[in-house]
Symmetry: C2
Subunit: 195 residues, 2 copies
């Protein structure tokens, strides 16, 4: 039995959007945003991982996944679309599974496929590195919403998603800080390459 | 000169959506969401306060405003639309200006009208009570976006804003936790009373 409480890491009921880090059987690290689903009734924790994703493949191979708690919008964009540089990862205490160097906190889960795309998560161990106070920034939220629409656009190529990204871009320009503006610019460049 | 750094309170460049607490000349406390604007170039901090708001009236009367850093979506809804119960406020060290009891941190500013609706903020003193780790929750962001549209609906009565709230309600039902669902339910009841 473990005494790690995901609530101490900010993983409350509802869906927490974190950056997952995993590794392939051969040891190649990967990072990608995932939504950790915590039920308010059963208190069970799970995640939906879709076919074709590195995260799903790695989890099937190794049974492990790390949730990285981080508030950098650029990191969300980069991990959605590409393989990050190897130097963003580290392996605390010789852990097999990588974590993000710049995460405020990380939590390692055992991860077992339950049915279909659903995987059950059991917390194993974690570390809190720092606890910055974070204010609500509508620009940050707009980057996250844009990423949701961008991944849907990748699948369906419906230009309606591009209009939605345009809407959120305007919010970023008004409400975002330097990092949010850098993040949405990077996203728009990637989307330009896709269309 | 003060040594209080708003960045330590999560007030970075861009617009930070916090809950402002103020008091009237006669001592009546008020709470309402505001957007604290911090420029990345001049590092100046200011806020736009519109005519007719208690916050603006109180700031003109007393020259003080407190930024409360808090992540409870219900508190954002309640402070947008109504006068909160008196017992949500407290006065640390006999400060004149109230703060929210349940805020993770608060920061007192001197507040001076610069031109039109723009008020300049100078940090005076603050306190950090706790530093919970907070994960990104799209349901929380959806409550905040709904509040923006709800206040616009109050002014313009354009039913398009109600459709947008419906859109964000669906995100809350999928991604939000118990507090986000309670918050959007409260908002929908208030909007029902408005229309």
């Amino acid at each position: 039995m473990t005494s790690v409480d995901p609530g101490d890491f900010g993983i409350l009921d509802g869906i927490s959007e974190v950056i997952a880090t995993t590794r392939s059987e051969s040891g190649i690290p990967n990072a990608a945003p995932i939504g950790i689903i915590r039920s308010p009734i059963s208190d069970q924790i799970c995640v939906r991982l879709f076919s074709g994703s590195h995260t799903r493949q790695n989890v099937i191979e190794t049974g492990e996944i790390v949730a990285n708690i981080i508030h950098d919008p650029v990191m969300y964009v980069e991990s959605t679309f590409g393989d990050l540089d190897l130097d963003v990862f580290e392996y605390p205490d010789n852990m097999d599974c990588p974590v993000l160097k710049r995460a405020n906190a990380w939590l390692l889960f055992e991860c077992e496929q339950s049915k279909g795309n659903l995987f059950e998560l059991t917390p194993v161990r974690g570390m809190v590195r720092d606890r910055p106070l974070v204010c609500v920034n509508r620009g940050f939220s707009a980057v996250i919403e844009s990423l949701v629409h961008a991944t849907r656009y990748q699948l369906k190529r419906d230009p309606g998603y591009l209009d939605l990204i345009g809407h959120y871009d305007r919010i970023v320009q008004i409400c975002g800080g330097t990092r949010e503006k850098e993040a949405i610019l990077k996203l728009k460049k990637i989307m330009g390459g896709l269309s």
